[in-house]
């Protein structure tokens, strides 16, 4: 009889992915850059459940009784606040990172759904403005393509301080994606790597931000809502300071939020999950008496109507989607598997968006690849997806007896895990225990 042998055993610490990364780093001397958000498992909305109606609460009839979904954004100071039919907005993504066709498709889909879309680093394109009924104009540290004519054309301005994928980091659009048009919009030579600064060039700190927001209001004659976008890091203080600085709307982006191109180490190790950020942000608004007066938009890993409902139940006024919107357009679609294989990856895992070779024609400036995306058909897919998200959120809200999505509340939720209970500040299911509750 053969002597039993110890089976080969992989280390949990030095797992195959880690070993491959060490070898890749040793061979190349450069960190990994990729697109998208964090890929690690994190406490997320899936760790929460709705309680629904019971003897003590009665539900609303799914196909008969009204469950409203509209949201006003910018009611604090703006003369012309935004009114959206659904609280699911499209997050900022740049022309440059995305093709003009993809930007147009986002505008088309958002417009059909009655929601807003957002520019990104690199300015506003005519396609995007033309197809977006409600367009939020991002005011970024790089100020690429920033000009007052476009500010006047925008429906709101979003001062970007950070994003969830890389709080504290700037951006990089690598040379292979810098076409003539992208280069001209950013006032830089073609083919060079374009760095986007991590700090604004003409202000530092919340006192300066207050003056900057005042300038933007003066330039736009106090008409347009001004958003402040932050990556989720210290949400209580960041939200409080954004309110102090005069924001109409705060956008809070968790570490699941995507990026066009950032170091993997940054994406995976800086910032906090959106689940951990919403309650402190809402707490700050409540402590200042500003909840529902300064609106809160949260983003980072919103995938379905349940996620939307949970974010709203935790106190957000609206959500934003980025990665999910790109998937709805056609990103990482299995029908392109052969082409993803040729790029050394597989459908669902493709994240080398910075290389500009996206077979779906979305994260590219290659005219042949970009032409593959039909903006009308892709916009329709996005509109369908937004409709489903809204219907799903309404389904849950009615089950909880709510006549408006904004009537969802933390008391409708329980958590499946200790971590989620502590982060979302809702009880562990079947208990009345909120771990770590101090507020």
């Amino acid at each position: 009889m053969e002597t039993p042998k110890t089976l080969p055993r992989f280390s949990a610490t030095f797992d195959p992915h880690t070993l491959a990364e060490i070898r890749r780093a040793a061979a190349t001397g450069i960190y990994d850059i990729r697109g998208g958000g964090t890929k690690r498992a994190l406490p997320h909305f899936d760790d929460l459940l709705f309680l629904g109606a019971s003897v003590s609460r009665y539900p609303l009839e799914g196909y008969r009784e009204k469950c409203a979904t509209d949201v006003w954004l910018g009611t604090r100071f703006a003369k012309k606040p935004i009114h959206l039919k659904t609280p699911i907005t499209i997050a900022g993504m740049s022309f440059g990172a995305l093709s003009a066709q993809a930007k147009e498709a986002l505008g088309r889909g958002a417009t059909i759904a009655g929601t807003s879309t957002t520019t990104g680093d690199g300015g506003m394109t005519p396609e995007e403005r033309g197809q977006s009924q409600t367009l939020v104009y991002q005011y970024l540290p790089s100020r690429y393509g920033m000009n007052p004519d476009d500010i006047r054309k925008a429906d709101a301005i979003e001062v970007v301080i950070g994003q969830g994928a890389k709080p504290g980091g700037g951006g990089m659009l690598l040379g292979q994606k810098i076409s003539d048009r992208v280069a001209a919009m950013r006032t830089l030579p073609m083919g060079i790597d374009q760095r986007s600064a991590c700090r604004h060039p003409d202000w530092t700190g919340p006192d300066d931000l207050e003056i900057k927001i005042e300038e933007l209001r003066e330039i736009t004659d106090w008409e347009k809502p001004i958003y402040v976008k932050v990556g989720a890091t210290r949400p209580y203080y960041d939200v409080a300071l954004a309110v102090k600085s005069g924001a109409d709307v705060v956008v809070l982006d968790g570490m699941q939020g995507g990026t066009a191109a950032t170091q993997d180490v940054f994406i995976e190790h800086v910032g906090i999950p959106i689940l951990a950020a919403i309650r402190p942000a809402v707490q700050a608004l409540q402590d200042l008496g500003m909840h529902r007066k300064v609106q809160l938009i949260v983003s980072g890993g919103i995938r379905n109507g349940a996620d939307v409902a949970k974010a709203l139940a935790l106190g957000a006024d609206a959500v934003a989607i980025g990665t999910a919107a790109l998937v709805a357009l056609g990103d990482n679609d299995p029908h392109l598997e052969a082409e993803y294989q040729a790029l050394g990856t597989t459908a669902g895992a493709y994240d080398d968006w910075h290389e500009g070779r996206d077979p779906a024609g979305i994260t590219t400036q290659d005219p042949v690849l970009a032409a593959r995306l039909d903006p009308v058909a892709a916009g329709r897919r996005l509109a369908n997806y937004l409709a489903v998200l809204t219907l799903e959120a309404q389904t849950i809200a009615r089950a909880c007896g709510k006549s408006h999505l904004h009537n969802l509340e933390p008391e409708d939720l329980v958590a499946l895990t200790l971590e989620a209970a502590a982060m979302a500040r809702v009880p562990l299911a079947g208990t009345d225990w909120i771990p770590g509750a101090r507020f």
Partner: protein
Amino acid sequence: MPAKEQAIMVDLAVTSKRDLNAALHALPTNTNETHWRVANPEGAHALAAGVNAPVTIEIDGHAGYYCAGMNQLATVIVNGNAGVGVAENMMSGRVHVKGDASQAAGATAHGGLLVIDGNASARCGISMKGVDIVVKGSIGPMSAFMAQAGNLVVLGDAGEALGDSLYETRIFVRGAVKSLGADCIEKDLRPEHVEILSQLLTDAGVEGVSPSEFRRYGSARGLYNFHVDNASAY
């Protein structure tokens, strides 16, 4: 320009800044109200920001942050000092500060001419994208950081890390440069640069100074595409 006595007078001791800016924004490009004088600015922020008409606005005193921000077509004259970000993101027109300017003067500006008679503080011309800036005094550290296009002319000295991570902006300095930033090098002053410089000096009202007194600095273009061997330069 009409005679000064015909200027529209706005006294910020009695009129709000909001009313001033709203009136300036309402001007059509063919307006007859082409000359404005602003009294008692008292360092107010965002004075004459977002103007888009070929008018002259004189501010008699000190201006706060973002004076003439995003200016288009207008001539804005500050008869005093200007705070942070004067003429930030200017697109066209002319901004003339008779005194000193604080940090980030002309930041990200795409066009037009910014003239500062005195000194400018740190980060003058940061991320400038096509504007021309003439500083008759000296400029502070980290000026022209990541500057993309346009010309920065300094008659005095420049602080440390001039032109760090520079793109295509041309920098001309007459005095001493404390240090150059990453990827910024001295370059030859060729005839085409003398021509540019001569025109800018004339436009800024500088007399008795020869372009040959300046040295030119620009990008070595060594950091235009990321390479690991350059990592220590960042």
